[in-house]
């Protein structure tokens, strides 16, 4: 005999209805949060993927900050190099004036005074600070890039290299130039630097040598070599800025890819979720209605 017990009927109905309800609630939760997963265990592989993507995102944000910083420092370097070039042009003008034999000694002293001023300005410019307040041309030194010795000559006090800044994905960029990289050059095989050239010129024009006009004319070669060194360095800085731009673009592309992947792995597909919710709701309503009808059927009502 098949005995369909009343409690079994109610238990079965409860199981069916609560199962459907649970499904509907899961979909509703996915829609409300916009996330497919409420916990890692909902999709362990997807959750791990999302964690890795989030990690890459937060490290990439730091790379962006570092790249901006390098970019700022290099732009400052570029501006400073422009100023160096301007000063060299002015020194050349003055050297040419001083090279004129018709000038009087007093006039030369005036030129020498201006040259000394320019020397001071060049030293100050070489000690420019970067965005973080460190010496822009001093490499990794803690103090100034150039100091003046007892006789007023500028001496490099920085470190040998400017240091690299990571840009992410293993890429780095040199964050600046050290003073000697663009101020040092050699004339006729003798190493010298721009500040020394200007200092010697000022001293010579001021009367330290027997023939200041000739000394001034001689210095023109050295000055044009110095200008070359500075403009070459400007090109290098420009290339580095372009490199940073390139890595930044790449970082943005990667970040877009990551966002797409995050959406693909973690986000709820609303259209299909709503359709599925509708389907589950329909089944739930139908089973509720049929349960209500069946539960009302009692023989006691009829035989009473």
């Amino acid at each position: 005999m098949i005995n369909n017990s009343t409690s079994a009927f109610f238990e079965r109905s409860t199981m069916g209805l609560s199962g459907l309800r649970k499904q509907a609630e899961t979909i509703q939760n996915q829609l409300a949060t916009g996330q497919k997963m409420a916990r890692s265990s909902d999709d362990p592989v997807g959750a791990s993927k999302l964690r890795l993507l989030a990690r890459a995102d937060s490290l990439s944000n730091i790379d962006t900050v570092n790249a901006n910083r390098a970019s700022t420092d290099l732009t400052l370097t570029d501006t400073a190099l422009g100023s160096f070039a301007d000063y060299i042009a002015r020194v050349r003008e003055l050297a040419m004036q001083a090279g004129n034999d018709t000038l009087t000694g007093t006039q030369r002293v005036g030129i020498a005074t201006e040259l000394e001023q320019i020397h001071g300005n060049l030293v100050a410019l070489a000690n420019t600070r970067d965005s973080a307040g460190h010496s822009l041309f001093g490499g990794e030194t803690a103090g100034n890039a150039y100091t003046l010795d007892g006789s007023g000559n500028a001496v490099y006090a920085g470190t040998a290299s400017a240091g690299e800044l990571p840009l992410g994905d293993g890429q780095t960029v040199s964050r600046g130039l050290t003073g000697p990289e663009f101020l040092n050059f050699s004339v006729n095989g003798n190493p010298t630097d721009l500040m020394a050239v200007v200092k010697q010129l000022a001293d010579a024009v001021g009367g330290a040598v027997a023939d200041p006009a000739a000394a001034a004319r001689d210095s023109l070669d050295a000055l044009s070599t110095g200008l070359d060194a500075v403009t070459t360095s400007q090109t290098i800085v420009g290339a580095r800025l372009a490199w940073i731009d390139l890595t930044t673009e790449r970082r943005i592309d990667l970040s877009e890819l990551r966002t797409n992947e995050q959406i693909e792995v973690g986000a709820t597909d609303e259209a299909s979720a709503i359709a599925r919710l509708q389907e589950v709701m329909l089944a739930l309503e139908a089973s509720q209605a049929s349960f209500a009808k069946l539960a009302k059927l009692s023989l006691f009502d009829v035989v009473g």
Binding site: T6, S7, A8, M15, R39, S40, R55, T141, S298
Partner: protein, 445 residues
């Protein structure tokens, strides 16, 4: 011997009354837990003709043979077995889910990434005091998050062991109760309503017991039950009127083991097994988390020792402790972070040692290991959830199958109510007829 119409009618009316009582009892207990539908078995009372009275009619009515308890032993034992499996899976998944939330909701992963990120930011300007302070703060956040995850795991372990202790007590209470029921069953008269009630109790107790541990049952002729734990060769929990003591022991790493009357026993199913499995996983996760924290501490401290702090002094340990529970930041001053290589002067901007530290961290990969740990737990939860759902639906259908067979069908009872009511009325009419016959005989003049 002749028949007596009146006494036949009386027996009919009596049995109909009894059948109505049983029906009413069924209706009243339609939703009682563990109640098994009763039905009456009636038997004719008649005597065979004796010597020389071959043609004699000797009818004496009807009597109640027995109250039948519609229990199916097989389905009952299926409900116990599948229920035990489902209880184990439920307890295990619940425990694992708690472990998962303890590790995941502490946000340990993101705090480790944050620490890595702060070191990377420091690389842009190793002497910047605010960047150094941010490294110290993110280190502090990370170490506290480790502490939080560790204490959350401790809490999970404590609550699992507390529940297990309660389960063990329940098992002992149920076993004692079952031994008492056994004693009374041995004395109860066969097929009496007393016996059926005791049998209901026995089955209900067995089912409750199977929620906690898997039981192997042997039913004896006198309807008493012998219960063994840990398979059919395991030690006896209940034998007749005697119950052994079930006990739990906790190991140093927080896992639990069981004994029955001083004999070690390993239940294969039931919520206690599930809790024991969850605790084993918990000990595993704990070990991994401690190893992770310890690796991080030693990597960072070793790198610190190789470098120079901001003031040029030798680097000191950044973290103290040996595991997730006691990891702490050793200094508040960001200047003590050894970013420069050993031997550098004060305020050195050389990031050599910082790079070495970051490389060592990238090799040790604490964030990657954390991801692995989380993946390990979450995939265990996901896998066990599927098993649990399957076992639950098996247990549900076994329970519905038992209900369908042993439960009360109200429609059926409604029909019985009418049937026995009609039988009672008919017996009454028989009495009327007997009276009429008697009156007819009396009335002869």
């Amino acid at each position: 011997m002749a028949s007596d119409l009146l006494s036949i009618a009386k027996s009919g009316a009596q049995t109909a009354r009894t059948a109505l009582d049983v029906t009413a009892q069924n209706i009243a207990n339609a939703s009682s837990d563990g109640y098994i539908r009763r039905s009456v078995r009636l038997e004719e009372v008649s005597a065979a003709g004796g010597y020389g009275r071959a043609g004699d009619v000797s009818l004496s009515g009807v009597r109640l043979d027995r109250v039948v308890r519609n229990a199916d032993m097989f389905r009952q034992s299926e409900v116990r077995r599948t229920g035990s499996d489902a209880a184990r899976a439920n307890a295990e998944v619940a425990g694992l889910e708690n472990i998962q939330s303890a590790v995941e909701q502490s946000n340990l992963y993101s705090s480790i990434v944050e620490y890595e990120a702060s070191l990377q930011r420091l690389a842009s300007d190793p002497v910047d005091s605010s960047l150094r302070a941010s490294v110290v703060e993110s280190a502090r956040t990370m170490s506290r998050t480790f502490n939080i995850a560790s204490s959350a795991l401790d809490a999970v372990g404590t609550s699992l062991r507390f529940e297990a202790t309660d389960s063990v007590d329940q098992v002992n209470v149920l076993a004692t109760e079952l031994s008492r029921v056994n004693l009374r069953l041995a004395r109860a008269a066969d097929a009496s309503s007393d016996q059926t009630t005791l049998l209901d109790q026995r089955d209900s107790l067995l089912q409750q017991l199977s929620e906690h541990v898997d039981v192997t049952t042997t039913f004896n002729v006198d309807q008493t039950v012998t219960v063994r734990l840990g398979g059919s060769a395991g030690p006896q929990l209940v034998n007749g009127g005697a119950a052994s003591t079930f006990a739990m022991a906790t190991a140093a790493n927080g896992t639990i083991s069981f004994t029955l009357g001083a004999v070690a026993v390993t239940p294969a199913a039931g919520s206690l097994t599930g809790k024991s499995q969850a605790l084993t996983k918990l000990a595993d996760v704990r070990t991994n988390l401690d190893a992770l924290a310890n690796g991080l501490i030693s990597t960072v401290n070793a790198a610190q020792a190789n470098g120079a702090a901001l003031d040029g002094s030798a680097g000191t340990a950044m973290f103290t402790g040996t595991g997730a529970g006691d990891i702490a930041v050793a200094f508040d001053d960001g200047a003590k972070i050894a970013t420069a290589p050993s031997g550098s002067g004060a305020n050195s901007r050389d990031p050599g040692n910082l790079t070495a530290m970051r490389n060592a961290l990238a090799t040790g990969d604490p964030a990657g290991n954390m991801d692995k740990l989380l993946f390990d737990i979450s995939s265990a939860v996901a896998g066990r959830t599927i098993t649990r759902d399957a076992l639950n639906s098996i247990a549900d259908s076994a329970s519905v199958a038992l209900q369908a067979q042993a439960g009360v069908d109200l429609d059926h009872e409604a029909v019985n109510l009418i049937r026995y009511q009609q039988a009672f009325q008919a017996s009454g009419r028989v009495m009327q007829t007997a009276k009429d016959i008697f009156d007819t005989l009396i009335g002869i003049r």
